[in-house]
């Protein structure tokens, strides 16, 4: 993965460092060259003065082979060579001056070249000055150690390294900070995207976006728009499916009921019609369950639809339907409804209640007993409980019953979706779904505990 920050740093810090290096080289030259020239002038002057003294005072001046000490306390050596480079007086360690066209020291004054050499194990710089000995041209060489120069050189280099180091670090830090600052809108954009709910497909506001990010935000908004349109199309499709399936099912149901009433006296017709009505009921139920399963999809869950509700009121809303269903199977259906305040999606929770009670009424044997209770638990949140006195569910099968299309009782007509819907909706609400057995006798107890 490439990083904009690293790219920017590479392309900013690299060139800056190269420029710094160039500036350092220039500074070095500007500082070192004049110092070098000053030292060289001193040396050249010393050589010139010595040449004058040799002319005036004779070879005695060079008797010990030493040049007079200079102010900086550098050690010095001196020698006199004839035109052919033969040593006439002074230190034998000094190399003869370089000859050019057989003429040593023909050059004069400032043009006299200076050389670097090693003498007595120490770096020296040698200056030469033309002189005359016994009427023939001769050359005075003066060598002097370069300790002071080295000291100055070291000081210049040290200062430059220090200065450039600090400078480069400061620039790199500044660049790092500026790049971070420049990339801050990206971080803010990311934070805004992170803070969004999964169902929030509203376009991003590009009002405070930097100009460079606006095309990105626009492209992103276009993508969101397409996703939103897709989700809407899916909603529309679902609504259409619901309409296309439910309306004919409702019509069929009424027609069959009318026919059943008309042919109640004819046992064969009545039996056939009762079967058709059963099939019709199953179709209706499965259509409803598929639709509520789809409605309970986590990515369709909108926190905005959560509202304060009372479970007792929700159960009461569906009671008519439950009572009729219970009567059809001669089940004693009872309620213990206490106020049970929760936060939830009214329509999803109605699906939850419907499916949980329907499950109990469906799987409890004829003449059984089902009790629906709710209330605010001691200390913790509200609960909904549906208890029956049927055969119950063996402990080892309890984890399976909430899976889709799992039906433990193959005799009963169920879709195997009811409890999966209950589980999905409980999960969406952060509720805990439990399955146990009653304190006394057989049966199953489903409990939904809300946070």
């Amino acid at each position: 993965m490439s990083s904009i920050r690293l790219r920017l740093l590479k392309w900013l810090v690299g060139p800056i460092l190269v420029c710094n290096l160039g500036a350092a080289a220039l500074t070095y030259m500007l500082a070192w060259t004049p110092a070098q020239l000053a030292f060289d002038d001193g040396l050249r002057a010393a050589a010139g003065a010595l040449a004058g003294r040799v002319r005036a005072e004779g070879l005695g001046v060079l008797a010990d082979g030493r040049a007079p000490d200079d102010a900086a306390g550098e050690a010095g050596w001196a020698a006199l060579h004839d035109g052919a480079g033969r040593l006439l007086a002074g230190s034998a360690a000094l190399p003869p001056p370089v000859t050019r066209n057989g003429q040593a020291g023909a050059e004069r004054g400032r043009d006299t070249p200076l050389r670097d050499a090693q003498l007595h194990g120490e770096a020296v710089r040698i200056a030469v000055a033309p002189s005359i000995w016994q009427g023939a041209p001769a050359t005075v060489s003066v060598a002097r150690t370069v300790r002071a120069r080295q000291g100055v050189h070291a000081a210049i280099v040290r200062s430059l390294v220090l200065l450039e180091g600090v400078f480069s670090l400061a620039l790199a830090g500044l660049v790092w900070f500026s790049v971070g600052n420049g990339l801050a809108p990206l971080a803010r954009l990311r934070a805004r995207l992170d803070a969004r709910g999964s169902a929030d497909l509203a376009p991003l506001d590009d009002a405070q976006m930097p100009r460079e990010l606006v095309p990105v935000v626009d492209a992103f908004n276009a993508l969101l728009g397409r996703i939103d349109a897709g989700a809407r199309a899916q909603d529309e499709f679902r609504a259409n499916v619901a309409h296309q399936l439910r309306t004919p099912l409702a019509g069929l149901k009424l027609q069959l009921e009318w026919l059943a009433a008309r042919h109640a006296a004819d046992p064969d017709s009545a039996r056939s019609l009762a079967l058709m009505l059963q099939a019709n009921e199953r179709l209706i139920r499965q259509t409803n369950q598929l639709l509520s399963l789809e409605r309970a999809e986590p990515n369709r869950f909108a926190r905005a639809r959560l509202q304060p509700l009372d479970l007792a009121a929700l159960v009461a809303d569906s009671i008519q339907h439950f009572v009729e269903q219970a009567a059809a199977r001669d089940i004693d259906l009872g309620f213990e409804l206490d106020a049970a305040p929760i936060e939830g999606d009214r329509f999803l929770l109605r699906d939850l209640v419907d499916n949980l009670v329907d499950n109990a009424l469906r799987y409890t044997p004829l003449g059984g007993r089902v009790t629906v209770s709710c209330g605010a638990g001691s200390g913790d949140g509200s609960f909904l409980r549906v208890e029956d006195n049927g055969p119950g569910i063996p402990a080892q099968l309890r984890s399976q019953v909430f899976e889709r299309f799992v039906r433990l009782d193959q005799q009963t007509t169920g879709s195997g979706l009811g409890l999966a819907i209950v589980r999905d909706i409980a999960n969406l609400h952060g509720a805990e779904l439990g399955l146990g057995e009653p304190d006394e006798g057989s049966g199953a107890v489903f409990t939904v505990r809300f946070p």
């Binding site: 909603d235 609504a239 619901a242 309409h243 399936l245 439910r246 309306t247 004919p248 099912l249 409702a250 019509g251 069929l252 149901k253 009424l254 027609q255 009921e257 009318w258 009433a261 209706i284 639709l291 639809r305 009461a316 009671i319 008519q320 339907h321 009572v323 009729e324 009567a327 004693d332 259906l333 009872g334 309620f335 213990e336 409804l337 009214r346 329509f347 009790t371």
Partner: protein, 223 residues
């Protein structure tokens, strides 16, 4: 009892027509929103309850209700919807409909809701009847078949409420709220006492007064 039924699905409209006629209602059918709107404009009030599908060709059910209410017509409207989209339910009631039912519905539920809406605008003096019971509210006389029924004031009130909600489960609290509306001291236990007395008096009246354990009662014609 005149009902205007607005439904575009022929099979369902025919089924509803027969079902409601079997309940003694006279049904007028409109096939789409514009036809319904025209009918409602020409003869008002054409019906005492309008049963209106939402998904209609032309103008939809919401628009029919909106126009109806805009004309100041307060005829009760029961919306039928095949879509259970949350917005549909809420919007239907906000537009001015009185009740809604999601297709496919249980037939007794539909009939009970239509009757409840019809009663909303009906004069209070109507005779209430179920099985062999006849309750004449204006004359304050009740009888089972030919036998006069002696009822205390409270028993009368409870029976009247149950008859008004025949076929519907009513909670004890609803009964308390209905018969003691001014916060008189009436406990749920007292309601149980009245109901058990009523049950004795209604023996052989061709009705079943069922107890919904822990909740309330359901009065219906005996099977």
């Amino acid at each position: 009892m005149h009902i205007l039924l607005v439904e575009d699905d022929a099979v369902l409209a025919d089924g509803l027509n027969r079902t409601l006629q079997a309940q003694g209602m006279q049904v007028e059918i409109a096939r789409d929103g514009l036809q319904a709107d025209a009918l409602l404009q020409r003869h008002s009030p054409i019906a005492i309850v309008i049963v209106l599908d939402i998904g209609l060709p032309g103008i939809d059910g919401f628009e029919v209700v909106r126009r109806l209410r805009a004309r100041g017509d307060a005829t009760p409207v029961l919306l039928l919807t095949a879509r259970d989209a949350v917005e549909d339910r809420v919007r239907g009631l906000e537009t001015g409909a009185d009740d809604y039912l999601v297709k496919p519905f249980a037939t007794p539920e539909l009939v009970a809701r239509i009757r409840a809406l019809a009663r909303r605008n009906a004069p209070k003096s109507a005779l209430l009847a179920l099985g062999n019971i006849v309750l004449d509210s204006s004359a304050r006389r009740a009888r089972v078949g030919e036998r006069p029924l002696e009822l205390s004031v409270r028993e009368w009130a409870v029976l009247e409420y149950l008859l008004q909600h025949a076929g519907r489960v009513v909670s004890k609290q609803q009964i308390v709220d209905a018969i003691a509306p001014w916060g008189e001291d009436l406990t749920l236990n007292a309601v149980e006492v009245y109901v058990s007395r009523l049950r004795l008096k209604l023996d052989g009246a061709g009705v079943a007064l069922r107890t919904i354990r822990g909740f309330g009662y359901l009065l219906e014609a005996a099977a």
